[in-house]
Amino acid sequence: MDGLVRGGAAVVGVAESDLGQVAQGLSPIDLMAQGIDRALADCGLALKDVDGLFCAATQSRLSVLALSEYLGIDPSFLGSTIVGGSSFEYHVAHAMVAIAAGLCQVAVIAYGSTQRSVGRRQASAREINPYETPFKPFLPASAYALAASRHMHEFGTTREQLAAVAVAARDWALLNPVAWEKTPLTIADVLAARMVSYPFTVRDCCLVTDGGGAIVVTSAERARSLKKPPVYVLGCGQSVTHASISSMPDLTVTGALKSGRTAYEMAGLGPVDVDVAELYDAFTINTILFLEDLGFCKKGEGGAFVAGGRIGPKGSLAVNTNGGGLSYCHPGMYGLLLLIEAVRQLRGECGARQVEGCDVAIAHGNGGVLSSQATVILGTQATV
């Protein structure tokens, strides 16, 4: 991305809030605050150091105002770009710009959701689209199902291959103590589960949980004096191709193609350099599409690529190592949790699910119905 300097900023603190099903009465902003408190402790900074504030939420219309009030701060720079689950990958680029321009020094990016506790209907206002709503698509699942139908038609992708994505996510989740799902899953289980929107059963669909968290971003220079090894932002890219699925230009090619290229170019890296890939898995087709569009395999070969446990804990490419939106946590806009896991992998903090020799990670966020794509490439000190 022009104007951003490779490695100019670093993620120095990360933390999840409570996840899964949180205590009754907790608000999304409570969860943001908990995440911020933990993320600041992770890097040894305090709330008084924070002068940049970013957040997005579906349960708070003016979320960054609510969060500023709650924290008792008047940030020098703030942003609440909301483009669905990839919002936080956009925020990383925006924080990096603000820090480079001297508009703020320590930026916090936060998220919180209680969609499981309050119910999805309460968590997201229903929007009427006169050109789609009459047909009662079960959104977002049906939109992704339409994309999957094209992928199956054009490339022969099978339901078993889609299921392999869910199984790999579950295998990773079993290594993650805070993952929502605790029991093994087979391809047969996925196929036999309740059908939601063909070809997706409920096991092809992300979880509906509460959750949130925060990350702390500062300049590379300041990062080196903090508690934990800095994780540098090497590349950022973004793309918006549509808002509604009926306007998606090509149902089998996502904006990840462009966002990935932009991020790789800035990082001076390619898919072959990536040690761990955190790819927004709202539905099983997502992982396949993003593996293709981010260059881990050719277009149309994603189904074959994920088969046979290749992206699972014993596979050749570590993908969605926390268990993903499918089996770890999906509080509505999951993108922040991708960044947290990528940072932890690069720091070597992931215990049983740690990927050996992890120097480059990709966190790829997806928002809307394959609508907004944002890629962040992160690296250890060895990469700068």
Partner: protein, 126 residues
């Protein structure tokens, strides 16, 4: 100059007459759907309303299984004039709707006064 009638209103008035209307961008030389006040390909406001033949092909399809009630189809239809819209393929079991299937439009008028919308039925094989 103020907009006298919204693109949606014009679209719905055509549906009331049994017609599926779309816009054609004179500057881009291609159709535009959903209807709007400027062309997303050129930024031009020279958008001409045209009436579709109502014939097209299924581009993508899913069967929705609601918690209550029978499964139903949701599809994206490529109309022969070169624009795509979301719709429902009717007169056939939802799981039998296939990509590439030739379909023809008719206007569905929901009871209870909701706005009419276009649905598609499989065309007879020639």
């Amino acid at each position: 100059m103020a907009i006298e009638k919204s693109p949606l209103q014009i679209y719905l008035e055509h549906l009331e007459r049994g017609e599926l209307a779309y816009q054609f961008s004179l500057d881009a030389g291609r159709p535009v759907f959903f209807p709007r006040v400027l062309c997303p390909f050129t930024g031009s406001t020279r958008l001409e309303w045209r009436i579709s033949s109502g014939q097209g092909s299924v581009h993508a399809t899913t069967t929705v299984h609601p918690p209550e009630g029978p499964p139903y189809n949701v599809a994206l239809i490529d109309c022969d004039e070169g624009f795509r819209l979301m719709s429902r393929v009717v007169d056939v079991a939802p799981e039998l709707v296939g990509i590439g299937m030739r379909v023809s439009m008719r206007v569905h008028r929901p009871c209870g006064g909701d706005a009419p919308y276009p649905v598609f039925a499989p065309m007879e094989r020639a």
